[in-house]
């Protein structure tokens, strides 16, 4: 299955890219395992927010084919 991964604000700066496309062979993968694929050197920072298909979720969320996963810092709008 294929997962789109997006990074915003200082997470994009840290990753050095805005987006990844990840092909997963196995049956399932959680957000946390996905993070291990895109950032093998560093565990998921504690205050990073996670959205799947534009809804907030947590690192244990299981992903399915076509999901869009986003990693970003606490929001500061308004």
């Amino acid at each position: 299955m294929n997962i789109t991964v997006r990074y915003f604000a200082n997470m994009r700066d840290r990753m050095g890219r805005a987006e990844d496309s990840v092909a997963v062979d196995g049956e399932t993968i959680t957000v946390e395992e996905l993070w291990g694929r895109v950032s093998p050197q560093q565990t998921l920072p504690a205050n990073v927010l996670i959205a799947v298909n534009m809804e907030y979720t947590d690192a244990s969320r299981a992903l399915k084919n076509g999901d869009e996963v986003a990693f970003f810092p606490p929001v500061t709008g308004g």
Partner: protein, 158 residues
């Protein structure tokens, strides 16, 4: 109810007036409360000269709409309008407008405050400030509104 996320300067008062003239039924609302957030020249002890506001197209609009919907379920809201900028913003320019029309002023105040508070908590926007010393920095956290009337707490930062 309408939510707009746009790049570029807007006049919050003209937008409110035009929206009311175009969309509100005549004589039904007795109260309109607006909140306008503008860019200050200082934040967290830094002198700030300009700002860039990033967002997540699609997710941002969806979450602002959800917050407006929640407000309309909690209070008697006739209509609500939210306009939020992204992109480059200069000192003193408006960043966000929240306007709420209601028959009763308590509902208009409560709903307007709820929308701006939860928008700030949940809508994906990220501020990057340029200080007058020429540095750029991502703003790490927003100031908070306790969400209750803080009578007599002039020292409280919110």
């Amino acid at each position: 109810m309408k939510v707009i996320v746009q790049e570029g300067l807007f006049d919050p008062y003209q937008v409110t007036r035009d929206y009311e003239a175009r969309c509100l039924p005549v004589g039904k609302h007795g109260a309109v409360v607006t909140f306008v957030g503008t860019m200050r020249d200082f934040n967290d002890g830094h002198n700030v000269s300009a700002m860039f506001l990033e967002h997540y197209p699609g997710m941002t609009e969806r979450h602002i709409e959800a917050v407006c919907q929640e407000a309309a379920e909690k209070w008697d809201v006739i209509d609500a309008l939210v306009l939020h900028r992204h992109g480059d913003i200069s000192v003193s320019e408006p960043i966000v407008l929240v306007a709420v029309w209601s028959a009763h002023r308590a509902h208009a105040f409560d709903a307007c405050r709820y929308i701006i508070n939860y928008l700030k908590e949940r809508a994906p926007f990220w501020k990057r400030e340029a200080t007058t010393q020429g540095h750029q920095r991502w703003v790490e956290h927003n100031t908070e509104d306790p969400g209750v009337n803080s009578q007599g707490t002039k020292q409280k930062t919110a």
